[in-house]
Symmetry: C3
Subunit: 344 residues, 3 copies
């Protein structure tokens, strides 16, 4: 795939400063630029790289004013970062999408498959499953009994979906994710053993959700574990039974949400955050990395810390924490001084 700078600028509605006929065959980071590639400069922090980059061309914001000479051809656009995203979209859309049923695969005669669907080899579509149009199910997936996958959704290789799961439109589920496994529910008996509480609920995933590689989402004990529209979940995340995650909430890798908790809309949970069970986390909440949430969080709060508390409070605590040896020393000094005063 090769384009000229002229073609790219025309596609993006940009202005070229330099050679219109340069050929571009890939993109690269500005600090790792190579001839034949296109880079971008959006964050002024990286400006110094534009004077040294080996990239043939660089996308820059329209208002960018170089302070030194630049070898690379520039393409000026209203927003260099957005323009790059547009190009990457174009690139991805140019990759041919697989269609059709590969052999061998296992498709129940009672499954209902839409048009223009891809089912990769070694995938298993169980009884009563409904697959919408333009769905891609890559190899080695298991779609359990009576599950529904709506239009345009992409299920990458090796995803396992338990019976009765509902997945909306335009979702992406990455390789190895498990959806609908049993909630972790047991009743302790008098002899100390545990009796399994059968989990008869399911998982409902609404439209536009992305779920990362090897993440796990348990079914509800009764009713549904619900991932609302537009939620983005990274790799190795655990969502327990009966959890509900609000629209457009994002969760970074290795987050865990325990049973029956609800997380509101537009929240941001950074890496390794843990939310204990039966809690209510409000809308627009931010949890910084590794925060342990052990009580309800109201709308708009930022929480942090091993036992998560309000971030501004935590920062004040942490400032003293980091100086505990000095505080300890001071208290001992005061002790001595008081002893001296009393001895006088």
């Amino acid at each position: 795939m090769e384009f000229t700078v002229r073609q790219i600028a025309a596609f993006l509605g940009g202005e070229v400063i330099g050679d219109h006929d340069l050929k571009i065959n890939n993109v690269s980071k500005i600090e790792e630029g190579k001839p034949g590639t296109l880079s971008f400069l959006a964050n002024p922090k990286y400006e110094s790289f534009i004077y040294e980059t080996k990239s043939s061309a660089v996308l820059v914001n329209r208002d960018f004013k170089p302070s030194h000479q630049i070898q690379a051809t520039l393409i000026k656009v209203p927003d260099a970062y957005k323009a790059l995203a547009q190009l990457m979209d174009m690139y991805v859309q140019s990759i041919p999408v697989k269609k059709g049923i590969e052999i061998p695969s296992f498709i129940s005669t009672t499954a209902n498959i839409g048009t223009d669907v891809y089912v990769g080899a070694f995938s298993y579509i169980a009884d009563g499953v409904k697959i919408g149009n333009n769905v891609q199910i890559h190899p080695q997936c298991w779609i359990g009994r009576d599950s529904v996958i709506a239009d345009n959704t992409i299920i990458f290789a090796g995803v396992k979906i338990y019976p009765d799961t509902r997945i909306g439109k335009n979702c992406i589920v990455h390789a190895g994710a498990v959806i609908g496994s049993d909630g972790f529910g047991f009743a302790q008996q008098e002899d100390g053993t545990y009796k399994k509480l059968h989990q008869i609920g399911n998982v409902v995933i609404e439209d536009d959700v992305e779920i990362g590689a090897n993440s796990t989402i348990d079914c509800a004990t009764m009713g549904s574990t619900i991932i609302h529209k537009g939620v983005k979940i990274d790799n190795l995340v655990q969502i327990a039974h009966n959890v509900e995650v609000g629209e457009n909430t994002v969760m970074a890798a290795q987050v865990g949400v325990a049973g029956s908790s609800t997380v509101g809309k537009n929240c941001q949970l950074a890496g390794k955050v843990g939310i204990a069970g039966h809690l209510k986390v409000g809308n627009n909440v931010t949890c910084t990395a590794k925060t342990g949430v052990t009580s309800n969080v109201s709308d708009g709060k930022t929480v942090m810390g091993f036992y998560g508390i309000d971030a501004s409070r935590y920062r004040r605590i942490n400032a003293v924490f980091r100086n505990l040896p000095e505080l300890f020393y001071e208290v001992n000094q005061l002790k001595k001084e008081i002893k001296n005063i009393k001895a006088e």
Copy 2:
């Protein structure tokens, strides 16, 4: 599947207050009740919902006395929660269990398969494997050479079991779990590189164990990593080489136990707990969520904190921790006061 309230009450030995002929086709949480469903009320905290629920019928404890009028039909039983669990058991048992070998699958001619076994399509049963009676192996599993899986155990889709693993009776292994992968053992060489220590042990899982989705249990360097009878392990849990976990211990999601540690019987490890290597955690130990265990823990202790210590001690520490800014302020006040006293 549909039952009348009369049938359900008869099955549970309960007493009906209301319409015996109502038809029930599902269960629901009392706060999300819908017509045609059965809910339950065990925890008095949820009592208010029973006066508003749209569920057709509600299981209640025999001694429940409503304080307002209730629309729903009641089924009175000795223990509403246990009755619900019984119903869920009945429901799960009513789902037909698959039997037989689906095609295509790969079954070594030297494997030994019991009666009434299910082997899902695309599963791989290697040389010398022994599968007991009534075992279910769902699609896309890999059962490595010489492994043994005893009667009634269920292996969900995509589970990977390395050679020479032993799994007991009545176990459940959820999708994507990996059992018997190499322990993480390397010997650093003088040039800084690492030489692999080959791991020639195995994993032994006793009866009645449940293992969550995408969890990993490494084989022993020598000997066996052992998961004793009745242990329940949630999703995304890591059990390292040569670990031993005692009977009826439960581990919530994202727990990690490092190499050669032993965890006693009847312990409860909450989510994200980490146990360092070569430690001994006693019986009946509780670790609250995210606890980092870095030293041995004696029987019956509850530990908590980033570097786990006795919980009652930790709570006292944490109470001061949360007020560190005020402590800091007070020390500074004392400093000033002493200065003043000395200046007098």
Copy 3:
């Protein structure tokens, strides 16, 4: 497989004290020794076991001097631990390696497969893939379009490799690992929804790398996520987009490295360590278990703590932290004393 003590001693160049003709058919830990097995004693901490072990023979360091009588036959070698590793190598090498293409598998006509390769049943080799010589690809793997796997590498069952991944020689990837899944990149829109940033980079894994079960390594947004030569990664580890990990660095289970961070050479990251995004961790850095790294770390440092700081400093802080109740008490005592002094 059975050897005499004589044969083992000859192989290791060791000296036999006891019965040369004893038959050995397995190895065991000295504290769990059984007749017919060989144990080893390297760490003097375990010396007491040698006087009670039921193992038939024990490997000991040449300079070992028993203080009591020993039942077992001894094999004296220069370094008992290394000798054991040699034996385990020999044992592993004695297991026959599978070769050939099992049926059914899916191999694109445009894939290029080397000599003496094993492709397990239900594995999927996509268009343009290149597989080197002596590579083992166990069952149910997915090797995405245009990926390259170099000589002698072992890919265990169910590994999923996204398109365009590069994996070097002599690597081991354990079951369920996912390599090349999309980086977690989204641009928030004005209405709160997130637009996916397509991830068009790849993952490059150099020679001699081992990757644990169910670990996930995301592709770069642009360019490559790079795992350099000799890196060892344990189970359930997350490596985000555009991360670079230096030579011979080891990462224990459940570590997470966020996007665009670099970790230097010869580092040791213990279990559950988290590294925030866009950071630079130097060479020879140690992070103790559960450390949260939120700022750059310079060469040779050891960091620890919830918000990782220099270990020696952290230990001093932690010593005061653990005595906060007493510090609090002392401050209150001082307050009282000052009050008394002022009242005088």
